[in-house]
Amino acid sequence: MYIKQVSVFLENENGRLDDALRILSEGNINILSVCIADTADYGVLRLILGESERGCKILKDAGMAARMDDVIAVVVENEVGSFGKVVKMIQDEGIGIRYIYGLSIPTDGAPIALKTDDQEKTVKVLERGNVKTLSPEDMQAF
């Protein structure tokens, strides 16, 4: 199942990450998970928030380029090779993985966020393979 991810465009300048996180904390938005993908000049901050819609709006109102997307939250079992099994399951179906990162939320196993070329098909593949995914409701518990 999908969860909402808020991403923010950040220039690689001192303090821009702080600014984004401060804006959220001042808006009383709980940050569940943070990940940054960066290049030499800029980065994309990817966030899983307690309140995605409000968080995204607060960031935009502060003048930042922000957007909301669906990502798949997968819980991989704490066993050697289980992460590789999930990746293979998806790739065997010919689905390309756009990006993947670990979520820092307390749950059994290792939770990861995943975006692929075909999200719908990926969810079906994972269901078929009995891989556990998290829903927005699950996220509310954190």
Partner: protein, 433 residues
């Protein structure tokens, strides 16, 4: 709709005859009333009698910003101070402000010129127009204001600085037209979209000027605001906005040749160019009393077309501005105009006209960096798409200006814009020091 058909649609030979008689008169006036001009003419051995018509125009010396600076503030006034009723000024790149002074009759003629332009944009006495230019020394605010009042429209003098209030009043007063800079109008469009109030506005037309803009920007504002947008041209030294304006056929900006005599010169040889030739626009004030300028070099690069327009007007049309003689950047030996960069950027879907060219010299080689704002609609969560965007910008620029630029994506709002004229170039090379 045409405001003054007798003048705007005059046969070409009559225009030329009118210009000739007015040119003779204005040359006589400046020779006898402006010691600065008399001296300039005497230096090249000219007497007023040598100028018998438009065909003698090229004998007259040019007026440049340096002349305005030397004669600052009232040294070029052609009437006694008691006849003057208004001063406007715009900032010069160096030295004193560029100043214009007006008599009561000048103000009336200016207002009529603006009324002709507004009519060209389909605006009538039934319209409600917001003037979003700065009021004050800048000619934009008061110039558009007097012209719209002369036309009989209802004018809301917003000035600049409070976009929220402008949009609120636009909705509340059912505003149908707006006059402001093109970059400010795009900023207004962004805010209207953000507020989700597009369906509540009644805007039909926009008259935008005071800075160069492109067809792509017109497309953007017309689509986003569901309006028709027109380009108005002018400069403080000559009058202010309303010297020329484009009609619904967008085939160039009709210049009011009964008041302004345009010509094109080669900026390096200063030779008058044949009809249709490219070069620097030079304008002579034919009717201005306060401070008529003779052969004023505008520094704007363009050409003039004289064939009759589909709209019925016969007045010459100023073609797309290719840049300014002083805007032109020479990077690695290539002439680059910011307007070319802007046009190239705007061919990319969703791109805003907010950009900055940073030119530097590292180890004796010129470097060009183009900073582009990542607006909401082009931002994606995937680095690969952003990299693709950078590459697209790079490739478009290479096509347009033939240079490889480093592209840097920056956060929205990071670049200065919409406050008056946008600033698009930072040249760190200090070539003139």
């Amino acid at each position: 709709m045409i405001w003054n058909e007798a003048k705007e649609c005059m046969p070409r030979d009559e225009i030329r005859a009118l210009q000739s008689s007015r040119l003779v008169k204005v040359v006589n006036r400046v020779y006898h009333n402006v010691p600065y001009y008399r001296k300039k003419m005497q230096e090249v051995g000219l007497e007023p009698g040598d100028i018998r018509g438009v065909e003698d125009l090229s004998k007259l010396p040019f007026t440049t910003y340096e002349d305005l600076n030397a004669a600052y503030p009232f040294g070029l006034a052609a009437v006694p101070p008691s006849e003057l009723v208004r001063v406007h000024a715009s900032s010069g790149t160096t030295g004193k402000p560029k100043i214009g002074v007006y008599t009561r009759r000048d103000i009336d003629i200016w207002a009529e010129c603006v009324a002709r332009c507004l009519t060209m944009a389909g605006i009538t006495r039934d319209d409600i127009i917001q003037v979003g230019y700065g009021y004050g020394l800048f000619t934009g605010g008061l110039g558009a204001h007097y012209g719209a009042e002369y036309l009989g429209a209802l004018v809301i003098p917003m000035s600049t600085g409070n976009t929220q209030k402008l949009i609120d009043m636009m909705i509340d007063c059912k505003v149908t037209a707006i006059a402001c800079t093109p970059s400010y109008l795009l900023h207004v469009a962004e805010d209207i979209e953000k507020m989700g109030v597009l369906d509540k506005i009644h805007l039909k037309a926009a008259i935008c000027g005071a800075e160069p803009w492109t067809d792509e920007m017109r497309d953007q504002m017309e689509k986003r605001l569901r309006i028709k947008a027109y380009d108005i041209y002018g400069l403080t030294e000559i009058f202010g906005p309303g010297v020329a304006n484009d009609c619904e056929y967008h085939r160039g900006l009709h210049i009011w040749e009964d008041h302004f005599l345009p010509e094109i010169i080669d900026p390096s040889t200063l030779e008058q160019q044949p009809e249709g030739g490219d070069g620097e626009l030079v304008i002579t004030n034919l009717t201005k009393e306060g401070m008529p300028l003779i052969r004023y070099r505008t520094k704007d690069l363009t050409s003039l077309e004289y064939d009759k327009c589909e709209c019925g007007r016969t007045m010459a049309r100023i073609q797309r501005f290719r840049g300014r003689t002083d805007d032109m950047l020479i990077i690695r030996g290539v002439n680059v105009f910011p307007s070319q960069v802007e046009a190239a950027l705007l061919t990319i879907n969703g791109m805003t006209p907010h950009y900055m060219l940073v030119v530097d010299r590292v180890d004796n080689a010129d470097t060009l960096e183009v900073q582009v704002e990542v607006a909401d609609n082009i931002f994606t969560d995937e680095i690969s798409s952003l990299e693709k965007l950078s590459k697209e910008v790079h490739d478009k620029l290479r096509q347009a200006i033939g240079l490889n630029a480093k592209v840097r994506l920056v956060e929205p709002g990071g670049l200065e814009h919409f406050d008056g004229k946008s600033k698009h170039v930072t040249d760190k090379r200090n070539l003139y020091k």
